[in-house]
Symmetry: C2
Subunit: 332 residues, 2 copies
């Protein structure tokens, strides 16, 4: 079977040659393990951040098979909770098959196609939902700005906030993505930050200031947005993709000063912090989807050997929609 190892921990930008594709024997499972056949691999900016050191999980080191969140089918099981043929989700690796500690797996709700379990009904949609509702404590009528607006989380943030009666302004890195989130996803507006006029554009597009900034990027975009926040605004810290793929991170120069002047609250989270609310979130989002208020956009790369390309595309802002890699077709 095929697998991909991280052969080198990058100190600058991640490169395709930092990965090596290998053909190896199928793994054997031990006590408490489950052999799964990977179907879809989630491609996330977080994959890159794991290479920088220990985060909420151990660092990825040179020689490691690249870890990933995935949708998979059970092939063989040493845990009675999981049966052959069952669809599961959890921590897996960039490989066609993987032997996984059963504690890292959970059973999937019956949602088709399976890709939706990585987008709206998986980490992307749930991250957007919990970030807005439980961290940002969004209220009807507020102005919400979201960066990486065409990214996996951003496009759901905008659609959920819009469905909740907010003004939604995206920030993205191309005119095409900006145009699509406005035309296809009903954002009120979207600013191409590469225009170099972000501060001015935010003033124009957010005439009443910004109440919630859902931050996926950190860095200089965060710095600029902070200047336009309203008193007692909330910054939902979801990601800092601008800081993951390089050597010299830069902190917003107006932190922490502006937090005091404007009485802002910044709070970080990851989706698993709200696991007890997942079911109610999925129910709510499925209602919004049924009403046509949320569209699912996915960016699927075919073939496990192309996983490095998919991650590089995401890190350079090339994806539109939830990025994932298809290893094999959904079982019928």
């Amino acid at each position: 079977m095929k697998q991909l190892k991280l052969s080198n921990v990058p100190t600058g930008n991640l490169k395709k040659t930092d990965f090596v594709l290998e053909n190896v024997e199928m793994p054997q499972i031990g006590d408490g393990e489950v052999l799964v056949k990977n179907i879809l691999l989630s491609i996330d900016a977080a994959n890159r951040s794991w290479m920088q050191g220990k985060t909420y999980r151990d660092a990825v080191r040179a020689g490691d098979i690249m870890p990933t969140y995935a949708i998979a089918e059970v092939v063989e099981s040493n845990d009675e909770r999981f049966q052959k043929g069952q669809i599961v989700t959890g921590d897996s690796v960039w490989a066609e098959y993987a032997a996984i500690n059963s504690k890292l797996l959970t059973s999937c709700p019956n949602i088709k196609p399976l890709s939706n379990l990585l987008s709206l009904y998986g980490i992307a949609g749930l991250t957007a939902y919990h970030g807005l509702m439980n961290v940002g404590k969004l209220k009807k009528g507020e102005t919400v700005v979201v960066s990486a607006a065409g990214g996996s989380v951003g496009l759901f943030v905008g659609q959920i906030a819009k469905a909740m009666g907010c003004r939604v302004v995206g920030i993205a890195g191309s005119d095409e993505k900006c145009s699509r989130v406005v035309k296809e996803l009903n954002f009120d507006s979207c600013i191409n930050y590469k225009s170099g006029t972000l501060l001015k554009d935010l003033k124009t597009e957010c005439p009443d200031g910004i109440d919630i900034y859902f931050d996926n990027v950190g860095g200089s975009i965060l710095e600029v947005v902070l200047f336009r926040m309203n008193m007692r605004g909330r910054v939902v810290c979801c990601g800092a993709v601008s800081q993951y793929d390089g050597t010299a991170p830069t902190g917003p120069r107006n932190l922490p000063g502006l937090l005091i002047v404007k009485r802002l609250k910044m709070e970080g989270f990851i989706v698993m912090d709200f696991v007890k609310d997942h079911l109610s979130a999925i129910k709510h989002m499925s209602e919004l989807q049924a009403e046509g208020k949320i569209k699912i956009i996915e960016d699927i790369t075919e073939g496990i050997e192309n996983a490095p390309d998919a991650l590089l595309k995401l890190l350079s802002g090339g994806n539109y929609g939830k990025s994932m890699v298809r290893v094999c077709p959904d079982p019928s």
Copy 2:
């Protein structure tokens, strides 16, 4: 009478020559105004931050009489709420007398000496109290780190947290200040950040990590402390004095990344946000003082002409205790 104007808005470090001492006529009061005789001027790092631009108040500009928070005695009043001889507190200026809009003044509780109305029972003590209790939501047994530990707010933060059953570690800029907060004020420990080993020292002095960081300084000290915060720790953003007196602010490079990894919450506030809780806070602090758990430390400079020196001393970390300038003796 004497008054001090800011003659020049500094672009680099504030200098004594940025102020000019003038002898002028006594001010006349108009409708809704009160003529006060200043007794004590509060000297705060915020005085410097006001010169950087609009904050929660208008910027101080060249030619302005330097604004200040002060304790004063009413000399003449065009507002029936205020009578001659009454002691008031509020927005005043660096001058022997001032004509003040009565809306900016409030009557003082009967506390002697009056200097205590600027320290424990004024903005310093109340800032410490509300920051710990209402923003940080301090819990018994937690580890609290406070920067500018020998400063006006910091020394109350440490004493209140200690009285609430927390482990308290200060950060200050001299061995003498560190020694004094431990010996005189019962801090568990205090680290001189100029030693250059802050990260290591925090590990030693906070073996269980840091739950609350009460931040008075921002900048590189904030950056280092963030690395030692516990999961779901709170950063109480009270001030950023390291950023006020210079031209090139620097943001902590691990922001916002570390907020996500550790699920931290950072929140800014100013003391007036909690004005409705002032009385209950004063009652609680007076009980702690009566029990000997809080000592009042004040750093009083005599003579209004020395106000610039007092501010420069504070900005260079030279004060120990709440900094203020005495303009005239307390009335008997």
